[in-house]
Symmetry: C2
Subunit: 258 residues, 2 copies
């Protein structure tokens, strides 16, 4: 089976022009089928502020009312997505931008309004890989923003980490799937303040020990559980770290395996 690389980049890479352009260069050079998923960064909040809108967050999660969904659609699917695509094209990587509505690729359900009403937030119900597989075969790299749809005409704001893991899981039957979460740290750290304290290997067997010993920081927990879930659903390999892990096998990063 061929290997498919699914790579997610977070806000810190997107918000910094030089980090983004270094990442673009790196991604463009990766051989074989690949999919990119990008988060939103601070640009949506900036545009909302510039338009005099209030940004409403609960526990670090954005509450997406209709006006906020408009902003997100403009920033995620418009500005960020097209800027990534146009930069990849300049590096001879034939990218095509996607939301989950495009090609009906990612169908989600609006999150129930109780106990907390997050507005137009969607939880993924189904991933349709057919169109994506055709494009991957043609050497095209799909680039996803964090929007999905409900098949009834509604776009929904969806967590980019989850989009990445659900895409990886959906392709696990047809490819050897590798899932990479790129962010600003070297990986899962024993001590959040010490970049050299990377836990190099986490398995489905030892992650609960690490959790019980409270070695995993609270901020890392949802990301790690996402990773473990992907591994349990037959994704071959999940890595967390800085983008350099994609090109340098000697780099410091965390690998999660069965």
């Amino acid at each position: 089976m061929k290997t498919l690389k699914i790579i997610k980049i977070g806000g810190n890479i997107i918000d910094d022009a030089s980090s983004l352009s270094a990442f673009i260069e790196l991604f463009a050079k990766l051989e074989g089928p690949k999919i990119l998923i990008h988060g939103g960064g601070k640009l949506a909040t900036k545009l909302a502020t510039d338009l005099g809108m209030e940004v409403n967050m609960i526990d670090g999660r954005r509450v997406t009312n209709a006006a906020t969904l408009d902003i997100i659609t403009m920033v995620y699917a418009g500005k960020i997505n097209k800027n990534i695509v146009v930069q990849l094209q300049a590096k001879h990587c034939n990218a095509i931008g996607f939301s989950g509505a495009d090609g009906n690729t990612i169908v989600s359900k609006k999150r129930p309004a109780t106990p907390i009403d997050y507005g137009f937030a969607g939880d993924i119900a189904q991933v349709n890989t057919a169109v994506l597989e055709v494009l991957l075969t043609q050497g095209v790299a799909p680039v996803f923003c964090a929007l999905t749809h409900d098949q009834n005409g509604q776009l929904l704001n969806t967590n980019a980490d989850t989009i990445a893991s659900e895409l990886a899981i959906a392709f696990a039957n047809t490819y050897e799937t590798e899932l990479y979460y790129c962010f600003e740290k070297n990986g899962v750290l024993r001590d959040v303040d010490d970049e050299t304290s990377v836990i190099k290997h986490i398995s489905t067997e030892n992650y609960q020990d690490l959790m019980q010993q409270r070695i995993i920081s609270e901020g890392m927990l949802p990301k790690l559980l996402n990773c473990i879930y992907a591994i349990q659903k037959n994704v071959n390999k999940v890595c967390i770290g800085k983008p350099e892990m994609l090109s340098n096998p000697n780099a410091n990063f965390t690998t999660i395996t069965k």
Copy 2:
């Protein structure tokens, strides 16, 4: 040869929610391969105004500085494009949104800064149909916004009418191509104030007579020349009129043929 329908909708359809939803319903029902191109409408100007930016127009053409290009990218490729795609999906039409950067489909050159500097405006240099053909074969309907790229990382604002005619021309060797310009009038009118005065047929032979007799209004001239150019470049049929021409052969509209 199979028939490919290439349909362009203008701002007046996009700006009005009920016109747009009627059009979406109509487009979704069209059988066979089809491509949609949409203009921008007034939303980009509204967002620019809301952000306190000046909108600079010369002879009805937008001057695209860097900030304006950002706005256009957000509104055209983000808000309008994704809203059309999500509504088409709700009507079971498997749409995928495109700018000319996506799939490297439309390459353009920045317009020279003399005699008038339109900023980041692009004139189409090349259309690459390979990826689009693969998608059309899969039953996917590409939906284009009016942005192209220069292959060096620069998005460029490009006339939507021209995108439509250049796409039709590029496909003329592989499909019987039909090009439809949908707008708010019944077609090319003998008297701009009389909707019943539609000129039903214009040919490459009689259009110059119509121009010399000054029967074609000034506003219609660039659109008509675009149509004549497409016909001369082997597009099979070009029509101008209201969207109903797509479903009702007895509707009043203008057909341009050899």
